[in-house]
């Protein structure tokens, strides 16, 4: 199988990730605060430090381990005081953001405003600025669109948020592992990420990086293995936010995934993907029946959306899978709003996303298959 769906979840995983899960499950369990083995505490503490270091987040930040971006985003949204305020999002957002905020809107708690991306999916900061009012309490913004692969200018949006004393939540699901990220420079209040995409970890693990002064309330309540006689949630970090048994295999896999990226070098990973993406883009550009959706000036090289003539994306992905054993994704990719902007509503796009493990030969098979579909079926 030729796997080109790494934006959904990465495959294959590095052997170090695979082995660490086997090792963990083959040995007596470590469970923070729930057994006499203190090793788990130091391991998890070390991983907190290494993850914060990977994202270049200094002592102003903490990390909360979660089940992934969706839980992280819910934690930031439902744990912040947004009542009777307005929240601004971009039309590039994923349903993890849209549906969480729509729930608050439908409960009558907030007003939701949407800054529209343009025809190629990029976002002009002015479209965010013009939605600001004195009621705006939070901006939620995608770092890299999972549809177009465009990088949104989170640094400028952060400046805008700080100038207006507004909370900023960045959805880093697609940016984590795909571009170098310096949270000290970007300076968000919250940064949500998941392990299983370009950080090569397990599904069901991720984190929320939070500014220590963000006043984030507790989102999830329960046992933490700490101050167990207390009937209320401890205020101490991380117990205030990490109720329930931690996903230790997931956290270990995240650490190993980050180690793998650091060993190879994130810039080498970007160069590899850029080479593959250029191979695709240069060939697709020659074909009038293939339309691509991205902004050349703000592109991450991590994911490419396209359509072939008037064929539905489902049809194309079905043929790629059934005829050539190529795994891509078709549809709106859980980001429905941006398709109004790029003109792919309601069917969406075909999306390809290689990884460091993808070869030029595999990409060549994709190109030939797509060209054939374009010549035979359009």
């Amino acid at each position: 199988m030729i796997y080109l769906n790494n934006t959904a979840t990465s495959y294959p995983k590095p052997s170090s990730v695979v082995n660490c899960i086997g090792d963990y499950l083959s040995n007596p369990p470590t469970n923070f605060g729930r057994n006499t083995n203190s090793t788990s505490k130091s391991i998890i503490s070390d991983i907190r430090s290494s993850v914060l270091s990977f994202f270049e987040a200094n002592d102003d930040y903490n990390i909360v381990f979660t089940s992934g971006s969706t839980e992280s985003i819910n934690m930031a949204i439902f744990g912040s005081n947004l009542i009777d305020g307005e929240v601004i999002i971009s039309s590039a957002e994923h349903n993890s953001v849209i549906r969480s905020l729509m729930e608050l809107k439908n409960r009558g708690k907030i007003e939701l405003k949407i800054a529209q991306c343009n025809y190629n999916g990029s976002l002009d900061i002015n479209s965010v600025q013009e939605l600001l009012t004195n009621k705006t309490k939070m901006i939620v913004i995608n770092h890299i669109s999972n549809v177009t692969g465009n990088i949104l200018d989170v640094k400028e949006i952060s400046k805008l948020a700080k100038q207006n004393n507004i909370l900023l939540l960045i959805d880093g699901s697609q940016s984590s592992g795909n571009i170098p990220i310096n949270l000290n420079e970007i300076n968000p209040d919250f940064f949500a990420f998941t392990s299983h995409k370009s950080l090569f970890g397990l599904q069901g693990s991720g984190g929320l990086i939070i500014r220590k002064d963000s006043q984030l309330g507790t989102f999830k309540y329960g046992g933490t293995g700490f101050k167990s006689n207390m009937l209320t949630q401890p205020e101490e970090f991380p117990h205030k936010y990490e109720a329930g048994t931690q996903n230790i295999p997931g956290i270990l896999s995240l650490a190993k995934g980050i180690e793998f990226i650091n060993e190879i070098g994130i810039n080498n990973i970007i160069e590899h993907k850029k080479k593959l993406m250029l191979q695709i883009i240069n060939e697709f550009e020659k074909n009038n029946n293939i339309k691509m959706y991205y902004d050349k000036n703000n592109y991450s090289w991590s994911v490419l959306s396209f359509n072939i003539g008037n064929l539905s994306p489902d049809e194309v992905s079905y043929i790629l899978k059934g005829g050539y054993d190529i795994e891509v994704r078709a549809g709106v990719h859980c980001a429905p709003l941006i398709h109004h902007n790029i003109g792919t509503d309601p069917m969406g796009t075909v999306r390809v996303s290689p990884s460091i493990f993808t070869t030029e030969e595999e990409v060549a098979v994709l190109i030939e298959a797509v060209k054939l579909i374009a010549s035979e079926l359009v």
Partner: protein
Amino acid sequence: MKLLYLEIIETCIEAKSAYDAFFSDTLSKEFIDKFSKIGKVVYNEKIGSTYFRIIVRGKYTIKGFINSDNFRIMMADNLDNEYLYEIKQNIENITKS
């Protein structure tokens, strides 16, 4: 050749609803040809191991590949049960003949 089971496709948005039909054996051209009694059968031999579409106008489209063990049924409206029954009957008739 037997129809083993049908699996609903939840992500398909090009049709009202869609199902993958799985068979006990691989699909031959002779087998697919027999669907011409209920609709228009179109082949494209250049794509994969021959891509086929069976278009039953206004009702459903079936698509798949020769030598595969499954095909996809895409409904044009909400009469899933009626059309699935029709397809099952047709498969039974073909395999009996």
